[in-house]
Amino acid sequence: METRPEITKKHKKMHLSRYRNRWGWLLISPAVSGLTLWVALPLLVSLVASLCDWDMVGPPQYIGLNNYKMMFTVDPSFWQAVGVTAYYTFAGVPVQIIVAFVTALLLNTNVRGIRFFRTLYYLPSILPIAVNSVLWLWLFNPHFGLLNIILEWFGFPPQRWVFGSETVIPSFILMSLWSVGSTVIIFLAGLQGIPRELLEAVEIDGGSGWHRFRHIILPLMTPIIFYTVVIGFITGVQTFTQPFMMTGGGPANASLFYVLHLYRQAFQFSHMGYACAMAWFLFVVTMIISGVIFKSSSLWVFYEGEVKK
């Protein structure tokens, strides 16, 4: 603190925007170099590969836009995969976010033993996916499974769950609700960051619980909600591991998620070029939709850190 006057002078001398540019670029330089090496470079390779017939065993052969043509006009599973993925994403992600948000509100209370409950609620998200999948295959099993036993208690007929073509996607959504813990703790961290005196101020003004939620909690949480919407969408369209481990895309391609189709093309059927073309199509579509979500954010996302600009 002794040097304060000197540094302030320096700040004044240096043009503020130049100072910012220098620091900004300095701080993001690791990301730029890392992402270039580990993301941009492989990305470029995949773009080139999407124009080739490449089995990853021999050398790639240039075939122009044939992979893209195949995708849109020949492959009967392509549009199936698009449909499955859209169904899961647009039906599942909103439900996941709402359930996670409500759970976070519930866990944000300060009652006795809440730490214990938080841990219990987070448990499912901790399990390795390999174990998670095995557990749920048991629960879903039409003959041994716990879920059909529970249905029977209430007099409902047994279901096929992930083994039925109509029930497989709803079953995956149900399963995803079980492990929304990751989203819950993001919300929880956000809720914990809401300034207490803001909440107290409403109470003094005689505002109701709903009032407090609607006018303080919800607006302050919008940056976090925005984050979960974007990430939920991006990870939703890239859903892969559960169907890969549990259903292999079946039955009758009813759970052939986009990235699962892509993965099988790449490694099981040795069509890396085609897989890359599929990846780039997804990339572009995801960018466009994310762009729309980002553009919409100015309408509903409230940034405390941007009030003064």
Binding site: I28, A31, L43, I185, A189, M287, G305
Partner: protein, 266 residues
């Protein structure tokens, strides 16, 4: 009222986990008996010992521990700095760089796996921990985005006050932003731990020798091609999950103790 809701929810979340626990002390046949039994006739504690004789899990735990520790350190420092720059420094080219950074989340990783292996071959990193740890120090768009959103909720006056006091950006990050962002940083640490601990695809691609393998890979190995000993698998899964539960139980105190913005202001 609150408790009954909490308890019903907890039943839903813990049921499958209890199923895992009870299966880990059963024999193969009991696990699948129909109608299901909830407790084993005689607990098979031997399953846990078998895990260690079948595969060198002690070694796997050590390897995973090293990789996870480096990943957490890397993730906390690199992402905080970068997210700060994107969220709170108004520099030229910021928006385009941020968009590029986020766009890396949108390409399915499947297609970059093979090129990555080739790149790491030229960097001399195959069959070492480098490909599994070094990238953590160079930022991850997922965490950058998340921290960016959290940092955006902090009023800019804090930075300005520190700036007027003569602090540079690095000092602001260390002394102002990090202390009030403990909840968010705890989330990054937990996610980074979980992701690294459970990832088997990275280790599968980059490691060739058993002595380098991780617990996630070891777990995968227990599910054999033609025969899976489910009781051993469940015991191993229980062992693999325990450190995560303990970690979470302790890490979450930061959600409560982490200074809230209000606390600082007052």
């Amino acid at each position: 009222m609150l408790y009954s809701v909490l308890i019903i929810g907890a039943l839903f979340t813990t049921m499958p986990f209890l199923w895992l626990l009870r299966s880990s002390v059963m024999n193969m046949r009991e696990i699948f008996t129909m109608p299901p039994v909830w407790l084993p006739e005689k607990p098979q504690w031997k399953n846990f010992a078998d895990v260690f004789t079948m595969l060198p899990f002690g070694r796997f735990f050590l390897n995973s521990g090293i990789i996870v520790a480096l990943n957490i350190i890397g993730a906390l420092f690199s992402n905080t700095i970068m997210a700060y720059a994107f969220a709170r420094i108004d520099f030229r080219g910021r928006n385009i760089m941020y968009a590029l950074c986020l766009s890396t989340l949108m390409l399915p990783q499947v297609v970059t796996l093979v090129p990555l292996v080739v790149i790491w071959k030229y960097l001399g990193g195959l069959n070492t921990f480098a490909p599994l740890t070094v990238p953590a120090f160079f930022g991850n768009a997922f965490y950058i985005f998340m921290l960016h959103q959290f940092f955006k909720t902090i009023p800019l006056e804090y930075d300005e006050a520190a700036f007027v006091d003569g602090a540079n950006y690095l000092q602001i990050i260390l002394n102002v932003i990090m202390p009030i962002s403990k909840p968010a940083l705890a989330v990054v640490a937990i996610f980074s731990f979980m992701y690294t601990w459970n990832d088997f695809f990275g280790p599968l691609l980059f490691l060739n020798e058993e002595k380098m393998y991780t617990v996630a890979l070891g777990l995968k190995m227990l599910t054999g091609m033609y025969s899976t000993q489910w009781h051993i698998l469940m015991a191993a899964a229980t062992l693999v999950v325990l450190p995560l539960i303990v970690l979470f139980f302790f890490a979450q105190k930061y959600f409560i103790e982490g200074l809230t913005l209000g606390g600082l202001k007052g």
